[in-house]
């Protein structure tokens, strides 16, 4: 059969044209060299050092969290090593009034937005106090239902817009999450309402054991923004400066009333999916792991700062020691948090406790008094 629409509907060309608009943006290469001078963010020396300190601190938090989990002193934990640039450089581009809707792996962003470390540990253990955001920390606790944070972000952003605030809502999901219906609905709603939202896909190549290639035939995940008519970009997620700049620009556009953006960060998790028995050696090769280790966001950012004379081994050790002692203190504080009672759980269900629950409350209060 002759293809009559060939000129207008060249399948290969349509796909290639789309793909070519989403080539990965990079500022720093693997050796910490600036490869795109025009895109270097406008960050002071102090800010650069602060960003590096946060990344180092968070790498230590990951190492200690894995170890505390193995000792049974933490519960649910989704490793973050490898994603420091993606997670922390994006959060670094935010302001305090911005609202974060994290996924389950996005605890570091919450911590740097103001969630006390003790509460992050209580979240991991499964204690209601871990989800109690302090006043002024604009965030929800980590979302377990993949995609739900996306539809909610559209609502938060519309709320911000209706209040006339110069702020944004930012949310994160993974590569697998971009297959969910809520992913699409979330970006589409924000687009239709031109709401100030930033949608981040942290593409770490695997959704548990399922490789990115099995989620979709789309060449990039960034191009999914085309479906809803929003600007989208793919950045090197191991490159703190590229992630920072992309987020900063998305934020500018959003607070100027130009609507949402979608950012795909190309990243990797060095650890397992979670600490609940996932074994990445079943689905990843050691070659692949070591390939990505060369791209380590800490290695390249460290080199970049050392070349500028802003970073040293001493400075790094100081951050590591601080992290360790803060983690130790936070775990101790978590240990000292009173145990949960059923009546506590009843108390936080409703503002106005319904009669059936009030009745059960009395029964449990009696049990707890014994």
């Amino acid at each position: 059969m002759a293809l009559k629409l060939k000129a207008q509907f060249d399948a290969e060309k349509v796909l290639q044209d789309t793909q070519s608009q989403f080539e990965m943006v990079q500022v720093l290469d693997m050796d910490g060299n600036v490869v795109n001078e025009d895109l270097v963010p406008d960050l002071s020396d102090d800010e650069l050092v602060e960003l590096m300190s946060r990344m180092v601190w968070t790498r230590i938090l990951d190492q200690r969290s894995i170890s505390l989990n193995r000792q049974g002193r933490l519960g649910f934990y989704a490793p973050t090593a490898g994603q420091e640039a993606s997670q922390l450089a994006s959060q670094f581009a935010l302001e305090q009034e911005d609202f974060i809707l994290p996924g389950y792996r996005d605890v570091p962003q919450l911590i740097w937005h103001g969630l006390p470390l003790t509460e992050a540990f209580l979240f991991s253990r499964g204690h209601f106090k871990g989800n109690h955001m302090p006043e002024g920390v604009n965030a929800l606790s980590p979302q377990i239902i993949i995609g739900a944070q996306y539809v909610q972000t559209a609502g938060v952003a519309l709320g911000i817009k209706k209040r006339g605030k110069k702020a944004v809502a930012i949310t994160y999901t993974g590569d697998g999450g971009s297959s969910q219906g809520d992913f699409y609905e979330g970006i589409n709603f924000a687009s239709a309402y031109k709401a100030p939202a930033i949608f981040v896909i942290q593409n770490n190549n695997y959704a548990i054991s399922t490789p990115r290639s099995k989620q979709t035939a789309a060449a990039t995940l960034a191009q999914k923004g085309v479906a809803v008519g929003i600007p989208s970009i793919q950045v090197d997620g191991m490159d703190a400066l590229a992630v920072y700049q992309a987020t900063k620009e998305a934020r500018e556009r959003a607070i100027n009333g130009e609507g949402p953006s979608l950012i795909e960060t190309m990243t990797y998790r060095y650890g397992p999916h979670t600490m609940a028995g996932d074994d990445p050696t079943k689905y990843r090769t050691s070659d692949e792991d070591s390939e990505w280790e060369k791209k380590d966001p800490l290695v390249r950012f460290r080199k970049y700062l050392e070349n500028k004379g802003l970073w040293s081994e001493d400075k790094e050790n100081e951050v590591i020691e601080t992290a360790k002692s803060e983690i130790k203190a936070a775990i101790k504080e978590a240990d000292n948090t009173p145990k949960q009672k059923v009546t506590d759980l009843m108390d936080i269900m409703y503002e106005d406790m319904p009669q059936h629950l009030a009745e059960q409350y009395e029964i449990y209060k009696e049990k707890e008094s014994k």
Partner: protein, 325 residues
């Protein structure tokens, strides 16, 4: 006072609340300029503006997420799901998210959201419009589920639902929208949530119903009274939580109870009512607690509604069996 249908009473409640509280927002599919597929939101966008009453893209889960997100910014969202059968699309946001917001946040956040949606049979709707799905919502801790059966309650309960800082699912039976009018005050008033209403007092048997089955039960009572029985009819109004005290007091008086629902026997909240009464009033019972409910099939094809939906005759028949047990 004015004579209003349930649709008018709901619309009137909206006007009251949009005026009273500038954080109240109404949104859903075609609720804006169109005034809703049942005219429930008619005229509201014109009067209060597109900022307060607005349309959404066609995606129920997105609507639920929008409600939850807006509530984080201090708004009081009233979201509409066009038909209850479409709730499956948004079940995560309703039961997995909104219902759990306060709990998940350790009590530090609220979800003052009202989820409105029409349901109910007898008006020949196409597939998945009329299904009685209150049971699955009633089984989700964190929600209140309200079903008004008349215009007066519809207005008062909706105002209470909107003002509640806890999430409320508010289900509107389509057959009741315009089937009768009654006196409804123009001014604001509330009907307390969580409370049943004794529609008529009696001594021989208690009929416990909600939604369209309240009218059917009242008609059945009329017929039973012709045979000399004194019938008490209770409208649950709230199917979660259930006002157990009112039910127990009635059954302790009458000694007999029939629970009436439009939902299939395996669904609805009839089994919960029966279980609660068995636990709390068994020593008063002269006969087993009986249920009138639909057959355990999928909601019927339109032309089979008349043979499938429970009606007055089913109630009379069951009530007599219980009375003559």
């Amino acid at each position: 006072m004015a004579q209003m249908t349930m649709v008018q009473a709901i619309n009137n409640a909206f006007k009251t609340e949009l005026q009273n509280d500038e954080d109240v927002l109404i949104f859903g599919e075609d609720v804006g300029v169109n005034g809703g597929v049942f005219r429930v939101t008619e005229g509201l966008q014109k009067e209060f503006g597109e900022d307060r009453v607005f349309d959404t893209p066609l995606a129920e889960s997105g609507i639920g997420g929008l409600a939850l997100g807006l509530s984080t910014q201090g708004f009081r969202p009233v979201m509409e799901i066009q038909f209850l059968g479409f709730v499956f699309e948004v079940f995560d946001e309703v039961a997995g998210q909104i219902a759990r917001t306060r709990f998940r946040a350790g009590g530090s956040k609220a979800a003052p959201i009202t989820i409105r949606t029409p349901f109910g049979g007898g008006v020949h709707t196409p597939e998945l419009h009329a299904d009685n799905l209150e049971g699955i919502l009633a089984q989700s801790p964190g929600l209140r589920v309200v079903i008004p059966s008349n215009p007066y309650d519809a207005k008062g309960l909706l105002i209470s639902a909107i003002r509640s800082n806890d999430p409320v699912v508010y289900l509107e039976h389509m057959k009741l929208y315009r089937s009768f009018r009654e006196e409804v005050p123009e001014e604001e008033y509330t009907v307390e949530l969580d409370k049943a209403s004794v529609k008529q007092e009696g001594n021989d048997i208690t009929l416990i119903a909600y939604g369209a089955m309240v009218q059917e039960s009242l008609k059945a009572a009329e017929e039973l009274e012709k045979d000399g029985y004194s019938v008490e009819v209770i409208d649950l109004r709230s199917v979660q939580p259930i006002d157990i005290d009112t039910l127990v007091a009635s059954v302790e008086k009458t000694g007999r109870a029939v629970v009436v629902q439009e939902a299939q026997r395996q669904a609805g909240v009839g089994a919960t009512v029966a279980a609660e009464l068995s636990e709390r009033a068994i020593l008063s019972l002269e006969a087993p607690i009986a249920r009138v409910a639909a057959a355990d099939t999928v909601y019927p094809f339109t032309q089979a509604e008349n043979v499938w939906l429970p009606n007055k005759n089913d109630i009379v028949e069951q009530a007599k069996a219980t009375l003559e047990f």
